[in-house]
Symmetry: D2
Subunit: 146 residues, 4 copies
């Protein structure tokens, strides 16, 4: 099962300061999620088609990233699982052979959602089983004040 996804940068991810813009990091996380979910939940498709809503993000930026042709490697893993939602942790790093920098760590709260009925739903048992199988440590944020 996929525990990381290599996401290609785009030149346009850089802002006027010449670094990958802080908001674009969330965009990269989105793509990592889309790729990972296709593999994690691919067979029954509930997660991608029925959907999840993003309820919360938290992200810490650790090093500046400039555009390069090598992708970033985004690790992602469930850090908490409840009946109708789960949390994903992430680390954005260089892939092997490119470097060993950690650029960002982040966490997203996702709420299971039924787009057909426009209402929250429970995670299915198979979704929960898959998430448990992949689960890992909470993200060690450093800069929260409270």
């Amino acid at each position: 099962m996929t525990r990381f996804v290599d996401v290609a940068l785009r030149w346009s991810d850089m802002d006027a300061y010449g670094h990958v813009n802080n908001v674009q990091f969330l965009r990269l996380l989105e793509d990592a999620r889309v790729a990972a979910f296709a593999e994690w939940f691919g067979q029954d498709r509930t997660m991608l088609e029925t959907g999840v809503l993003v309820a919360r993000h938290e992200i810490e930026y650790l090093a500046p990233l400039t555009f390069r042709h090598a992708p970033v490697r985004i690790s992602l893993w469930p850090t908490a699982i409840s009946g109708a939602s789960f949390e994903l942790g992430y680390e954005v790093r260089d892939p092997e052979g490119v470097g060993d920098r950690l650029y960002a760590r982040a966490e997203t709260s996702l709420v299971a959602y039924d787009f057909a009925t426009a209402s929250p739903r429970r995670l299915t048992e198979s979704e929960r089983a898959r998430l448990r199988e992949l689960a890992g440590e909470p993200v060690a944020f450093r800069w929260r004040r409270r």
Copy 2:
């Protein structure tokens, strides 16, 4: 002094689900910051030209937002001030006369930075004075787990 900024939505802020995409909310916050900083620190320009780095974001999504011609009103205010960094709180709402929905609350940590020397710097006394004058309550996040 500006305590809120009305930011125009773009049709392209919506994603394939037909809602303003969660990542685009951070983009809207960026624009609110750029507009507010121009007024808060406009005279000596240090903040915008010398710069600040985004070190951290935290955001909670409270209601779905769809594109409309009315802008969103983004309140923003310093929630903590130290020698070389500060925190900004935000609320994303409807403007008066449009509605009274709260779409998101968020917080950003900003580190004062000197782009000329590519190194962190101290906030100037006038920057700190301005931030203190505008300071308000911490953001009351509801969904942090720890």
Copy 3:
């Protein structure tokens, strides 16, 4: 009837060269279209809800644009109307009082489309009447080679 729309720039429209990125100009044109169509076709809503497809763009860049708090003024007008499609011309300029620079001229071909049946459709008589009322000169492109 609206013959121009003032579109707010975003700081993120700039790329690593510090100018509004050439691709973002097309994004600004999109927003001008959305705003103008709401007024031009607002009553029966066919154009916005049933939809049109973009079949073609052509754009010439005439002057560099950097982010500023003032919007750009985008003039737009039909340059050709047929049974199932039309062309829109645009000019992207400074608004009055800000300057008198012409940044870009462009043209878009739009095909009337019925999203419900996923097939092309004819323009309605009222759509054609409105377009004729607003119609103007073709765009005077300078840099086409052939």
Copy 4:
């Protein structure tokens, strides 16, 4: 020498209609250019670092594209070369094994530019030689009216 580049789609390239947005096609072309130029002009770096300006785009959309994990294959080749500028043609297709759809054809005019002196420059002899070596047919646009 690279005559095509496979560019990864992002989920966010789709708009509220559920298709890769027409503006994002230009974004994909940008990334194809950045990747191809790194290889075409990589050694002396003049093209990427000293720079080129986009003076013009023309694009025709031929088939709707929805997000998928497979990239798009973007062919690109010089279609005209002069002393201080050149034209690039493009086709956006499925890669081998994925399909054989042609989604868009486009052309970009690029002006050689010296960012250090903020002025147009001549193409160097080695740049022109490389472009000539890669040159191909003009783009066969179908929907130009004049």
